[in-house]
Amino acid sequence: MYEKRERLVKASRDVTMYSKKVIFQVHRLNSKNKESVLEQAERDLANVKMDHVTRVAKELQGSEFWKFRRAYTPGMQEYVEAAAFLEFCKNGRLLTLDDLNESFAELKDASSNDFQLNLLDYLLGVGDLTGELMRLAISSVTDGEVDSAKSICNFVRSLYMSLSLISQEVDDSWEMKQKMEVMLQSLMKIENTCYTVHV
């Protein structure tokens, strides 16, 4: 049992590390390199999934999804953040939980398990997304792409509103509440950025 937990913690750490790299890469995006950067990031994210998320999936069946959640949640949150960040940059929309779980269906062969991302890890991961979007908004404005900052602002506003309606209901809502506060701070920074451009 302890060995399984150890393996999960290690796999989760790798998922975190490589997901962070994907996020870092997407931040290099500008109007000229858009396509190539996104393609590369997509390939890298697929590798994170095949190489490392599979290691998490392999270990878990039945009640173990919840039993060992604390061991693997950091990695999965980071993966969600990376995938959602990439999706926003590509299509300007919010990656859904169903999208993610469909993409995990292909792990079934490799892991011989029906791995499903749980709702909490999805919400907590999406909560972190705002921080990245704030950085993106600020660099957009620096690059003179004011409209891009505005559309980020609108996206984050609606995401924040959706989450604020359910954040209290999330298990152990303390962690989610923390994220909501950080999210609001980020949103206000984005709004201030738009304001500064405007006046």
Binding site: N154, R157, Y160, M161, S164, L165, Q168, M188, E191, N192, C194, Y195, H198, V199
Partner: protein, 206 residues
């Protein structure tokens, strides 16, 4: 043996707390919903539709406070024993009502009017004065963000209105001899809100 009686007393007060908790959790849901709807006014000019949609909840709040009062009736003179249960939510409720009132009229929702909106009566289950004042501090905290967003949307007059309102509110608070507690701390923060709003007004003028 007296402990048997103690057990009953503690269970009774535990039961009161349980009932309060259940009602306050409804209060929590209601205010959360109102807050989420209020977020919309940051996204565009505040339309009468949005405001009246939020105001439509007031009825529900009144009924919830009525339930709290009902529970408290069963334990007379213990309002302040259980006060902590609904305190945080009441800050938010006052904030919401006062914000809407300001958006509609540009003026300050008085303590009496806030209590009346919630169906609270002094002597019975009233609106605690310090709760009301903390709610106004929350309003003050929200104004900088609101002004920034409104100016971005193109409503440049908003900064002037908020600056006048806030500096009056600040001056009024200044005259109060506040204890060294939460309210005092929250009031100390009001200075920064005012400064921020004045800076926006300055940016607009320049």
């Amino acid at each position: 043996r007296q402990f048997e009686e103690f057990r009953l007393q503690l269970e009774e007060s535990g039961a009161v707390r349980e009932r309060l908790r259940a009602i306050v959790s409804e209060l929590d849901s209601a205010t959360r919903l109102m807050q989420a709807q209020l977020l919309l006014i940051h996204h565009s000019r505040p339309s009468p539709e949005i405001l009246s949609k939020i105001k439509a909840h007031t009825e529900g709040l009144r009924s919830i406070y009525g339930q709290l009062a009902e529970v408290l009736k069963s334990v007379p003179a213990q309002y302040y024993r259980y006060h902590d249960h609904w305190r945080n939510q009441t800050y938010t409720v006052v904030f919401l009502l006062a914000f809407i009132h300001w958006l509609e009229t540009g003026g300050l929702l008085s303590h009496g009017d806030a209590a009346a909106l919630l169906g609270l009566k002094d002597g019975e289950f009233g609106l605690d004065l310090e709760d009301y004042l903390v709610g106004l501090c929350n309003l003050s905290n929200e104004l900088p963000r609101y002004v920034v967003n409104q100016v971005t949307t193109g409503d440049y007059d908003c900064a002037k209105r908020a600056s006048v309102f806030l500096s009056d509110l600040y001056a009024a608070f200044r005259m109060l001899n506040l204890r060294n507690d939460l309210l005092r701390k929250r009031f100390d923060g009001m200075k920064y809100d005012l400064k921020k709003v004045e800076e926006v007004l300055y940016d607009v003028k320049i």
